[in-house]
Subunit: 170 residues, 2 copies
């Protein structure tokens, strides 16, 4: 049984401008495109810039996610110092994103700078390297295509924030 | 109006073994996974290995594809000498894949080595660099997430093969 949230974070709509400090929103809506393949496709180009250090490499994986309880209490923040991490929902399912700006302490997420976003299900996100974020918060059971960095070295730092008792409203 | 196919290529089921000479099949089905994120997700790890040369970088894009006419006549083969190219259907839509082994002539696709595969809609593919393949063949209107290499240099070679008059059966 989850403890009750002490404070609530209101999820914002996921827009490229609002999310810019943390990475990129991956979506067609409102973006430029050009026609390719003899007129049979439109390419919405370069929506997410993947990053990996020289010792690593980029790969695609699938996360099979189960529904998180509501109201959802943030429990962990993590960051990937060696590369970016992108998520895209494969059944058009909405999901929540929680991030923390790095200031004032670059080595810890910061409760005062937490922000939450709601993907509409046609939107993915790409977290830039070093951006503190909550592990995937699914609102329904479903799959996500993930693009991230694999290879030697520790690419995941985690901090337990359950004691902050922050819930997300959406 | 398309001319009629002179020969037909029978699409094979898309399996990792059958597709191995050309790249990777991106799917959960039949793959190993491990539990992550405090038990809330399963990770099917490293399903596609993305490749880019040192001068390039990897990015995510979306292709909005329209239905190709049936019977579909192959018109072009292309290859990307500077990196891999991955496609994953975002509405669970089936699609066709056509590839050519490089022998006997590494600089041209070869009609005798053409093979066609049918994705079941829960499967994506990643073409290894230098693999000759047909541009996206959608069987219904829908979107694909694409991971490929961007950057300087010519990363797309194309050869017109319409004169071969090869159709695909599926």
């Amino acid at each position: 049984m989850n403890p009750s949230p002490r404070v609530f974070l209101q999820a914002e709509p996921l827009t490229p401008d609002a999310f810019a400090p943390f990475g990129q929103v991956i979506e067609r809506n409102g973006r430029h495109s050009h026609v390719i393949n003899d007129g049979s496709s439109r390419r919405y180009d370069d929506l997410a810039q993947l990053e990996a250090d020289r010792d690593g490499r980029l790969a695609l994986s699938i996360f099979q996610a189960t529904t998180r309880l509501s109201p959802f209490l943030l429990n962990t923040m993590e960051r990937h110092p060696l590369g970016s991490q992108a998520f895209f929902p494969l059944q058009g399912q909405a999901f929540l994103i929680a991030v923390s700006a790095r200031a004032p302490d670059p080595d810890h997420p910061d409760i005062g700078s937490l922000r939450a976003f709601l993907s509409n299900g046609l939107q993915g996100v790409n977290f830039r390297k070093d951006v503190w974020h909550h592990p995937l918060i699914a609102l329904s059971d479903g799959d996500f295509l993930v693009a991230d960095r694999l290879g030697p070295g520790n690419n995941c730092e985690e901090i337990d924030i359950a004691r902050w008792q922050v819930g997300i409203r959406h």
